[in-house]
């Protein structure tokens, strides 16, 4: 019977691009290892619109550093070329998006920004990246530069990347070179405003201000969101697919996405955002502009990078044994209870229970002391289960948690008229 079943499974045909996708996975692994070896520069600035929500792979080299720097240093609105914080110097931004196509292969420059000698360019293309051709920058004097860091997201026939270059001179005209394509673009000075809230309609709650800039398009509405906070680091807006809270709090009732609501009470939810996960995020709503529209954000995602629990030393149980831990670890407003640990052959399972506040729910947390693990919610026990390979931890190991990301519920309703 098993042989027959196996034979049936073997009848599932293998797709032509199987090898290609394996190579993409390896490439991403190589990029990760290379990034681990690389020393990041602390002062990396200027990022343009970022698309990270594409099904497929995400290879990241230095993106988090770039975003962190941006969050601390400036408030730049891509597409509007508005800059709020001008203390850090003159910021240049892409004058207008550029599209170039040869034999069905397109290359689109969607955003660019430059502060001092740091230039970041966001491009989209369907060119096969497996060929390992580099994205290069050419300046006005035909000097060619390779990127010092980059982040690529995408899969299949579409990808988008942010490329950071350290330029030598202050030019405004550059070209991106990819294979046999060379696409020119021009930078211009950004508009500056003194007060963040001057940018547009806004809402304030719990020390967090959110500004929404509305831009009606042909058949949809683009809304760019900007925020400022007194303490927490805002890392995301309400958009359902970016949630992990179901692993920690599966039964929490929550409106998972922001929405536009009109005077008749009809709600419209956003489709794919063009940028996501930072302070400058664009969202597209499949609706036309009308009077009385209101944007409702049921929560924002905030991160506490400096919060860390104490370390707990745990003895690895013998196969089949369950040991109680009964330890509560505190992470700001969140508590994580370590219930017990059990071993099933080569797998160690730690049962956890996150206790959140009514208006602040744990979404994600970094688990330290172990390098590889899996997390899932066990509906039978009501606990979140942390899976670790026995080989990973030996006979004893330490476990602690840091940098929690939470969903902070609040009253952010922004009226446009």
């Amino acid at each position: 019977m098993t042989d027959k079943l196996k034979d049936m499974f073997n009848s599932i045909s293998l797709p032509e691009d199987l090898d290609e996708r394996i190579e993409l996975g390896f490439d991403r692994g190589r990029a990760y290892e290379s990034a681990q070896r690389r020393r990041f520069k602390r002062r990396v600035v200027a990022v343009a619109a970022t698309l990270t929500l594409i099904i497929g792979s995400i290879s990241i080299i230095g993106l988090d550093k770039v975003e962190a720097a941006i969050k601390q240093m400036l408030q730049y609105v891509p597409g509007y070329n508005v800059l709020v914080d001008k203390e850090e110097g003159e910021v240049l931004a892409l004058q207008e998006p550029v599209y170039h196509e040869v034999d069905g292969i397109f290359l689109r420059i969607t955003a660019a920004s430059k502060l001092d000698k740091n230039l970041t360019v966001t491009i989209e293309s369907n060119k096969n990246l497996i060929s390992k051709e580099e994205v290069l920058l050419k300046d006005e004097r035909s000097n060619i530069l390779a990127p010092s860091s980059w982040a690529v997201a995408g899969g299949g026939d579409f990808w988008q990347g942010n490329y950071h270059f350290e330029v030598k001179e202050d030019y405004v005209d550059y070209s991106i070179v990819l294979g046999n394509q060379e696409v020119s673009f021009t930078l211009e000075k950004t508009i500056e405003v003194d007060d963040f809230l001057q940018l547009g309609p806004h809402a304030q709650d719990k020390g967090i201000s959110i500004v929404a800039i509305k831009k009606p398009m042909e058949d949809k509405m683009k809304i760019s969101l900007l925020n400022r906070s007194e303490g927490e680091k805002i890392v995301g807006y309400p958009f359902e697919e970016n949630l992990y809270s179901s692993i920690w709090n599966p039964y929490t009732k929550l409106e998972k996405s922001m929405y536009l609501i009109d005077r008749e009470g009809s709600k419209t939810y956003p489709t794919i955002p063009s940028s996501f996960g930072s302070q400058m995020s664009d969202f597209y709503f499949p609706t036309t502009d009308k009077e009385g529209l209101k944007l409702v954000l049921p929560y924002v995602k905030v991160n506490y990078p400096n919060l860390k629990t104490e370390k707990v030393r745990i003895q690895t149980p013998k196969d089949g044994q369950v040991e109680r831990i009964n330890k509560t670890l505190v992470l700001g407003n969140i508590e994580i209870n370590l219930i017990d640990i059990r071993r099933d052959k080569d797998e160690i399972i730690v049962s956890l229970k996150a206790v959140s506040l009514e208006d602040e729910i744990l979404d994600d947390v970094r688990i330290r002391g172990i390098s590889g693990y899996g997390l899932t919610f066990n509906e039978d026990t009501g606990y979140t289960e942390l899976f670790i390979d026995r080989e990973e931890v030996g006979n004893r190991f330490s476990l602690y948690f840091e940098s929690p990301t939470t969903l902070l519920l609040g009253d952010w309703e922004i009226e446009f008229d």
């Binding site: 599932i12 045909s13 697919e241 899932t376 390979d389 080989e391």
Partner: protein, 164 residues
């Protein structure tokens, strides 16, 4: 003791099991595009973890376990995904033998438990007892779910009987 495995050696070994990885992924996610995503994720995860392998004889089961975990991750993630225009970019366009196509359709009817059991049975050669331990299910439940899965896949009825 950890084994130092060269990149070339790792990649060669990985590719030996690519068909199993893809088919496991397909069993869980039931479409080519997602299964390829799982394969790519598995390649990435295995690549960066390759130096943690201590016993080469366990390479295959280690690799397939990553594929299973990545498949489950994707299923979990897909529950929360709103947009469909990117996830449905590619569908099966290759014309298949009708019986194969029926089999692939029937795979969709399996519950997650049934998929787990079938994968452990076929690709990990687990006994019912081992599956019971792995999934924390009573043996009787494992057996009944297994036979129900076979029924759904119409193995006994010989619907897919064909030359191997």
């Amino acid at each position: 003791m950890k084994i130092k495995m060269s990149t070339d050696e790792f990649e060669t070994l990985f590719k030996q099991y690519k068909a199993d990885i893809y088919r496991i992924a397909y069993t869980y996610v039931n479409n080519e595009a997602d299964a390829l995503d799982v394969v790519q994720e598995t390649a990435y995860q295995a690549f960066i973890s390759r130096n943690k392998i201590r016993d080469k004889t366990k390479f295959k089961s280690w690799l397939l376990k990553i594929a299973v975990n990545k498949s489950r991750d994707l299923l979990r993630k897909n529950k929360m995904i709103l947009f469909d225009d990117l996830s449905t970019v590619r569908t099966m366009e290759i014309k298949k033998d009708e019986s194969v196509s029926m089999f692939m359709d029937d795979l969709k009817s399996l519950s997650l438990d049934e998929k787990n059991i079938i994968v452990l049975k076929i690709y990990f050669q687990y006994t019912f007892e081992q599956i019971s331990e792995e999934l924390k299910l009573p043996i009787s439940t494992v057996k009944s779910k297994y036979y129900r899965a076979l029924e759904k896949l119409k193995v006994e009825e010989g619907v897919y009987d064909r030359q191997a």
